[in-house]
């Protein structure tokens, strides 16, 4: 592209939009991937706060045995809603839709994604899905109370508003598919000159693998959800044993999507880690190809393990053993990543800024989550631990301790690039430390309770669990305080924070080669890629980096 000659005014994407409209419409009708990324950030962040509040209410109910603040039916609705919001509205779109949208084109050296209008449409579909969830709460029948897995037969028989709520999940899936196919096409068609597949930053690789899962897995949940709705409305009988159907079939179809979906949630986070560690260790990533390929390997093997959610639902021993073995195999590519990250730090010149500290928190929490996953993947132990708090703890260690932690790491890492402002480093570090303490207080007792036999989703519990439940609830308060500190720090920085340097961390991937915040079409001149993605010798040539 030879448009470098045309002098471009030094305007950021905040000052210049894709349409001539000003103000709020300039955002709501913008096809600029950066504005859409920020629209997602606003929506996803708001739902995250709602999810956190619901979680804190649940913990408050469980502070003592018996009724504390809500009725059992309300409790059922609250834990369902917490799950639905956190999974469908926060974790699945979280990193891909917010940071993927904002940084995928930047890291590829492109002006935008392949289908900018489709991208905006995806955001609207996401919002429509979210609104449908909200409407289902207030309609007669009452809020969804099935848990986020919508298991048959309860989801067909309950009087709650299941149809509309799960139709919302169908709509959200559509948004996810469109984002996925947009990103795949972008990676194939929009790479800057010189950027081969093996010169792409690892966040791009991870987002690419994620996009494939979004495209391949999501239709299955789509059709499954439609079948549940048809079952409720017409009583077709596909999942109803009285008419010859099979409720276990529902579990298979549900997990064929929902297990790969946990990789939709974690892979982009792993991509962000692969960006942050080299930048703060000032060392090229160790095992670039191994990390890139392991993302695809996780995406592939992740399809073949769904039945490990169903070990106690009457699966034959042979298939249970095969699924258990395959489950262990997924740990291999994950281990490849962890070891490569740690090896990258070895002999590096580590600069422990907040994003790096958040990544350290991630490695610790995610390792616990991953290893307890193996406990659940083993047949004998799973029979004991199935549907107990142990599963809840494992899930929160990988999802919140994994993806959630990295969502914050990514925010702290790219904040100066996205907003051109700098937050308080001190408070970001305090938040990370407090997060670590709060997280373990909140979720570690659940491993112990689960091991002792506390079932998940129960409204009440035996007196011997009281102490651990109390510790967990106190952890939830600390977590609430941590969230307030994080949001206050970031919002304060946005309003009153100092202007950030162009390249505060000394990053070398393409997004750091343009100004902060970037201009409308990202680069004044489309860059030609000559270096490996994490070649820090470039820093000397980069004008925008001043070392402290």
């Amino acid at each position: 592209m030879a448009n470098g000659a045309a002098a471009v005014a030094e305007k950021t994407f905040y000052e210049e939009g894709t349409s001539s409209r000003k103000g709020i419409l300039g955002w709501l009708l913008s096809t600029d991937h950066k504005r859409i990324g920020l629209l997602y950030l606003g929506a996803v962040g708001s739902f995250f706060i709602v999810g956190v509040i619901l979680g804190i209410l649940m913990r408050l109910e469980l502070i003592a045995p018996g009724k504390t603040i809500m009725e059992p039916q309300t409790y059922n609705a609250v834990f369902t809603l917490h799950g639905v919001i956190m999974i469908f509205l926060f974790i699945i779109p979280g990193i891909p839709a917010v940071f993927g949208n904002f940084f995928l084109p930047l890291q590829l050296g492109a002006k935008d994604v392949a289908f900018p209008r489709l991208n905006l449409l995806s955001w609207y579909i996401y919002i429509i899905g979210a609104i449908l969830v909200l409407i289902s709460l207030v309609l007669p029948g009452g809020p969804l109370d099935t848990g986020w897995t919508f298991y048959i037969p309860y989801s067909v028989r309950t009087g709650a508003n299941v149809s509309l709520a799960i139709f919302a999940a169908f709509v959200l899936g559509f948004s996810s598919i469109l984002t996925g196919l947009n990103f795949i096409t972008t990676v194939h068609r929009m790479r800057a000159p010189g950027m081969g597949f093996f010169k792409m930053p690892l966040f791009v690789w991870a987002t690419y693998a994620t996009a494939w899962i979004q495209v391949i897995a999501t239709p299955i949940i789509g059709i499954t959800i439609l079948l549940v709705i048809l079952e409720r409305v017409f009583g077709v009988g596909i999942f109803d044993p009285a008419l010859g159907g099979d409720p276990i079939l529902y579990q298979h179809l549900f997990w064929i999507y929902s297990h790969p979906a946990v990789y939709i949630m974690i892979l982009p986070a792993m991509g962000v880690v692969s960006e942050i560690i080299p930048t703060f260790a000032r060392r090229t990533i160790f095992g670039y190809k191994a990390i890139a390929i392991s993302s695809l390997a996780i995406a592939f093997v992740g399809y073949l393990v769904w039945a490990h959610h169903m070990f106690v639902s009457g699966l034959s021993d042979t298939s249970a053993m095969i699924f258990s073995l395959l489950t262990f195999i997924v740990a291999l590519p994950s281990g490849v990543k962890i070891f490569n990250w740690v090896a990258t730090m070895y002999k590096g010149s580590i600069d422990p800024k907040p994003p790096f500290i958040w990544v350290m928190v991630f490695i610790f929490l995610f390792s616990i989550g991953g290893l307890t996953g193996l406990v659940l993947g083993s047949l004998a132990t799973d029979v004991h631990l199935h549907d107990t708090y142990f599963v809840v703890a494992h899930f929160h260690y990988v999802m919140f301790g994994g993806t959630g932690t990295i969502f914050f790491a990514a925010l702290f890492y790219w904040y100066p690039k996205m907003f051109g402002k700098m937050y308080s480093i001190k408070w970001a570090n305090i938040a990370a430390a407090l997060f670590f303490v709060a997280f373990n207080a909140l979720y570690f007792p659940k491993f112990i309770m689960g091991y002792m036999g506390m079932p998940r989703r129960y409204y009440d519990y035996l007196p011997e669990f009281a102490d651990l439940q109390l510790i967990s609830t106190i952890g939830s308060w600390l977590m609430g305080i941590t969230m307030i500190i994080i949001f206050w720090n970031l919002i304060h920085a946005l309003l009153k924070g100092p202007k950030s340097k162009e390249n505060p961390w000394g990053g070398v991937t393409l997004e750091w080669h343009t100004s902060s915040p970037p201009p409308l079409e990202n680069f004044h001149v489309i860059p030609t890629v000559t270096h490996e993605p994490y070649d820090f010798s470039q820093l000397k040539e980069m004008k925008n980096y001043e070392s402290d």
């Binding site: 392949a114 196919l181 391949i216 239709p219």
Partner: protein, 211 residues
């Protein structure tokens, strides 16, 4: 995309650039998701056919092979006309392209009309999910008709969406928004229409022929 294309697109469209190969890639990915959507249904069909082979056989006899064959011919012909419509536009024959696309849409409508009568007869005989007649039958037949209505219904929904898309494309060709040197939208709609056809080619034998 070639350099000249790129430069041309950058001048005329500003922010949104044109990449025909990219557009088709996106469409193929979308079709892939459609295949998986129906794939779930085909899987369920296979499971229950295996479980109730005799009752599926008896229930299958109820379906009208004649009307199914007629609809197969209609859809296959419409797939041909949409392909010819693309070829006509590539050869700068806008009139022929419009006529062929119009024929495609008419054929799609006649498919839906046949479907309406076919379903209507089933309703008259009381063969629909939840009806007393059907609930009096053995489980395999209940599931057969459940699957029949869901799968042909989902397919019919895709035909309707196809009619809407093809009509929009038709209007765009008439208004010269789609021309002989910028016809990727027509091509993509054609791809979608072939998929609708392809899925029917699998539905037809599974429900109407293998009894």
């Amino acid at each position: 995309m070639s350099q000249t294309d790129h430069a041309h697109a950058a001048e005329s469209h500003g922010h949104i650039h044109r990449d025909d190969i990219g557009s088709k890639m996106g469409m193929w990915l979308f079709l892939f998701t459609e295949l998986l959507l129906f794939g779930g249904m085909f899987l369920i069909y296979a499971v229950y056919r295996y479980q109730y082979p005799d009752q599926f056989h008896i229930a299958g006899m109820e379906l009208d092979t004649g009307i199914g064959t007629l609809n197969t011919i209609i859809l296959l012909t419409s797939s041909l006309t949409v392909a010819l419509s693309i070829a006509a536009l590539q050869r700068k024959n806008k009139f022929l392209s419009v006529v062929l696309l119009l024929i495609t849409i008419v054929l799609a409508f006649s498919f839906m009309i046949n479907k309406y009568f076919e379903w209507g007869v089933k309703f008259e005989h009381g063969l629909y999910p939840g009806s007393e007649t059907l609930l009096g039958k053995p489980n395999g037949e209940i599931l057969f008709f459940g699957l029949y209505f869901i799968m042909t219904g989902l397919h019919g929904l895709h035909v309707v969406i196809g009619i809407i898309f093809l009509s929009i494309i038709l209007a765009m060709i008439i208004k010269d928004k789609i021309t002989f040197d910028n016809y990727v939208k027509l091509e993509n709609s054609g791809l979608y229409w072939h998929l609708v056809d392809l899925i029917w080619i699998f539905l037809f034998p599974l429900f109407y022929l293998i009894q």
